[in-house]
Amino acid sequence: MFDALGNLVAYQWLGLQDTPLGAALHFFVMDVAKILVLLTSVIYLMGWLRALLTPEKVRAMMRGRSGPGARLMAVGLGAVTPFCSCSSIPLFIGFVEAGIPLGVTLSFLIASPMVNQVAVVVLAGVIGWQMTLIYVFTGLTVAFVGGYVLQAFRLERWVEDYVWKIHMGEAALQEEQDTGLRARHDYAWNEVRQIVGRIWKYVIVGVGIGAFIHGYVPADFVAKIAGDGSVLSVIVAVLVGVPMYSDAVGIIPVAEALLGKGVPLGTVLAFMMAVIALSLPEMLILRKVVKWPLLGIFAAYLATAFVLVGVLFNALRSVIA
């Protein structure tokens, strides 16, 4: 259906068959339409079912827990709790104050932006279920293992002192549970407006970059710089991804175009994760609650983990394909 829309606009209306511009435009129209439709439907549906967890509820569920079960729970809840990076400070303090270990809190902070229902549905719609399962599984593993690795560095030393002194109130929010159809619709529609309103820019830019790669960048050029799947190329992919920042949904069309040009799966995964989970603005926000050494270790762990993921999947590619 979206393919047909792309055909209609790029080829039938504008007559751009067999040109790079036509290919790029086709990709752009198809992906913008497809992603916006998927995005809107999945957010609306989840809003309607009130399936979105809030950080306050997660905190209450996790209170005072540690151990492997709590870690699994943090990662799982992170994956189903959407949160805006502007909330990462109160979230961090709230978790620490509830006695949730730092490693578990960081696990949550890694998992939450990387894996969420919205990204999963869009990813599956754009590049298929197989790739989506691999992405989700590795993303959650990186978050889970990260909790243990980071804890080993005794990071508590580098949490700003004032964080330990904050006491959180128990003014539990009385959310009126009006479950009538009208109320559900209003709530769901408001969610759509807010989330789409926040991430549409990333989608447009992401699809634009994807369309450019798809239409103009020759496959052999891509193959030359990123195609061999060597360890070095994965490291470069991660280093290129770190300064970039995008919502998970925005990077999907770029990944799609790269895969289409024959860039190995591992390299694409490493790049995607670096863009989504490791970003300068996010680090600067977290700097308000933790000191530089902690951020350095956090970033170093993630970069290393992404390189390992990339190398692993490049090595496995003959087995998977």
Binding site: T54, P55, E56, R59, F83, C84, C86, S87, I89, P90, L91, I93, G94, E97, Y162, K165, I166, H167, M168, G169, E170, A171, A172, L173, Q174, D186, Y187, W189, N190, E191, Q194, K288
Partner: protein, 76 residues
């Protein structure tokens, strides 16, 4: 007069929420004492982790996003 506090650390959504409440209060001619709280300890003191949050006369009525227009109208 109602005392309304908007909890938030200066993100775009917090500003939108503040403006929305101001606008609706004005449109309905309701006098409100509108306040912006950006101190993290104070925000967490209300038990709110996802900003923006809204507190009316000391009670948390909303958290985690811009409230919709109807919800704001029901508060005033």
């Amino acid at each position: 007069m109602k005392n309304i506090k908007v909890l938030g650390s200066g993100c775009a959504n917090c500003k939108t929420t503040l403006k929305l409440i101001e606008e609706i209060a004005q449109a309905r001619g309701v006098a409100v004492d509108l306040e912006k709280v950006d101190d993290m300890a104070a925000i967490l003191g209300y038990g709110v982790m996802s900003t923006p949050g809204v507190v009316i006369d000391g009670k948390v009525v909303h958290a985690g996003g811009v409230p919709d227009r109807k919800k704001v109208e029901s508060w005033l």
